[in-house]
């Protein structure tokens, strides 16, 4: 796709003159995007959102998809609120992104914020009405990721940066049907959403309400040929007999380190598929794909990836390309892109026999099934317990989710001698965590230890497996 032609998502779709190949297939409905030519999913209210900062907070991925198509180029900013993010963060997100309008299917958002001047319903249906979708803005797309303190970070993108890795399909290309385990409001899912739209292929959307087996059944009934997910999504799919119903030509993994085990398992199940794992982050964008079926990546990738410059500084992978985000939103937000234009991913690399392998994160962040966990956030919750002196949250390798969260806890001296029932204490600490944290952040095990190593800096020594 020539970048200059991407004035807005709707203009890119409609300029091809033929929207007939474009379908969004969800567990709710199958929609032909050609219906948008003389219809609207916003009941014709899209124009009221012109120039506004619009929060898209829908339960349904289909509704969010349609809102994005209608609002890119029209709204000044669209904020994608992932359905699994606790609603308690809404006020922070609304404030930081200067949101003044909400698009919702009414199931997730309570109104009452004085800043919000417009509320537009969107339920994933298209009703006949005319809409002016003339592009007047290079709309900012705001994606949310986890931050150290638990507050989400707001990552700024545009259609151009998001679509930077997407190449136009040659017309002779075989019939492709895309799907993804990801929610499209996560970077990995959004990539597949845009790829399907900009290359004119149908897309089968996943649904949080649907079992893995039902999703795989539905994907196979739509003839999915290309499908993406995190290694954890795939490990879960491998637990379902329904995985054999699908016969994909292309299987893509991203969002977590793909180990040799998951790559081998997928090759066994899909011997004829091309299996690729990609390195991409919400901040740094899509960097490269690895297609040789091996974990890690060849050292030559660093110097020889078209359109993406990479360097390794202090063992960390740094990336410069037109696909990176320029900045985080918010007054106190950290620097996202350095003065030289490189984004430091914080992902640490080790070179072994001409191949680089990811060995962890500099900031100690833990990746559980593609979702970030900052140890400090979990430790802060554990440390609230009156018997706890200090704690260290770390990761343990796990065959299902890649890693799980483990906590080492030092009790106050008085508690250690009091011979308190440790099971009861574990239970109390877990209850605290359950009240305050998303489920993937809750420690799977709590170990009581007599001390924790503290470095000369005065900080806890963190060494993750």
């Amino acid at each position: 796709m020539p970048q200059s032609s991407l004035t807005s998502l709707w203009s890119a779709l409609s300029s091809e003159g033929n929207l007939s190949g474009h379908y969004l297939l969800s567990d709710q409905a199958s929609l032909a995007l050609s219906e948008l030519t003389e219809g609207s999913a916003l009941y014709g209210h899209g124009d009221e959102l012109r120039g506004r900062s619009v929060l898209i907070a829908t339960t349904s991925q289909l509704a969010a998809s349609l809102a994005l198509i209608e609002l890119d180029g029209v709204a000044r900013r669209v904020v994608l609120y992932p359905p699994d993010l606790p609603l308690g963060y809404l006020p922070f997100v609304i404030e930081t992104a200067e949101v003044d309008a909400i698009v919702s299917d009414g199931k997730t958002v309570e109104l009452g914020n004085p800043r919000l001047e417009r509320f537009v319903p969107c339920n994933g249906e298209i009703t006949p009405c005319s809409s002016d979708r003339t592009a007047q803005h290079q709309t900012e797309w705001i994606l949310l990721t986890s931050g150290t303190t638990g507050l989400p970070k707001l990552v700024v993108h545009t259609l151009l940066s998001l679509a930077g890795a997407i190449e136009r399909q040659s017309p002779a290309a075989a019939k492709i049907v895309w799907s993804t385990f990801y929610d499209i409001r996560r970077y990995g899912g959004l990539q597949i959403f845009l790829r399907a739209l900009l290359t004119g292929t149908p897309l089968v959307l996943s649904s949080a309400q649907e079992s893995t087996a039902d999703f795989l059944d539905r994907a196979s009934s739509h003839g999915v040929t290309h499908i993406s997910g995190t290694p954890s999504h795939w490990r879960r799919a491998l637990m379902s007999p329904a995985i054999h119903q699908l016969a994909p030509e292309y299987v893509r993994l991203s969002g977590e380190i793909a180990d040799q085990g998951i790559l081998n398992n997928l090759k066994l199940v899909y011997p004829n598929a091309r299996i690729a794992h990609a390195f991409a982050t919400t901040e740094a964008g899509v960097a490269f794909d690895v297609n040789d079926g091996m974990a890690g990546f060849p050292a030559s990738v660093i110097a020889h990836t078209p359109n993406v410059e990479m360097k390794i500084e202090d063992r960390s992978l740094c990336i410069r390309s037109n696909r990176t985000s320029p900045r985080y939103l918010g007054g106190h937000a950290p620097i996202l892109r350095g003065d030289d234009g490189f984004v430091d991913t914080g992902d640490l690399l080790e070179l072994r026999d001409g191949r680089y392998y990811f060995v962890g994160r500099r900031d100690g962040v833990i990746n559980i099934g593609g979702l970030k966990v900052y140890p400090e956030e979990v430790e802060a919750v554990i440390n609230r317990h009156p018997s706890v002196q200090m704690s260290l949250v770390k990761t343990k390798k796990n065959p299902i989710t890649g890693a799980i969260v483990i906590a080492d806890v030092v009790l106050k001296a008085s508690e250690q001698t009091a011979n308190q029932d440790t099971r009861e204490l574990q239970h109390e600490i877990l209850l605290l965590c359950r009240d305050a944290l998303s489920s993937h952040k809750i420690p799977a095990a709590i170990n009581f230890v007599s001390s924790l190593a503290v470095a000369e800096s005065g900080k806890l020594t963190r060494r993750n497996a």
Binding site: R235, G261, I400, S439
Partner: protein, 81 residues
């Protein structure tokens, strides 16, 4: 130590802790229909390693995950031999 009863206990405990409705644990029960999610299975595997000292997944990179509860028990029983 009875591996089956230890596994059954862990399934029940994790289901209770994470507020999941656990299906009756018959050998033919497909694990994905048990009511537990990926995170629950991850925790069960970690706790079984702690309590039984066995991690059958680490023995082979190519170990395919068992699909039914019966296969899961068998997987651990074989690793314990």
């Amino acid at each position: 130590m009875n591996i089956r009863s230890e596994i059954t206990t862990q399934f029940q405990e994790v289901a209770r802790e994470y507020d999941k409705r656990l299906a009756p644990l018959t050998d033919r029960l497909t694990l994905l229909d048990s009511g537990l999610d990926s995170l629950c299975f991850a925790i069960i595997v970690a706790r079984l390693e702690r309590d039984l000292g066995i991690d059958p997944f680490s023995s082979s990179e190519d170990a395919l995950f068992p699909l039914t509860f019966g296969e899961f028990v068998q997987f651990y029983e074989n690793a314990a031999k």
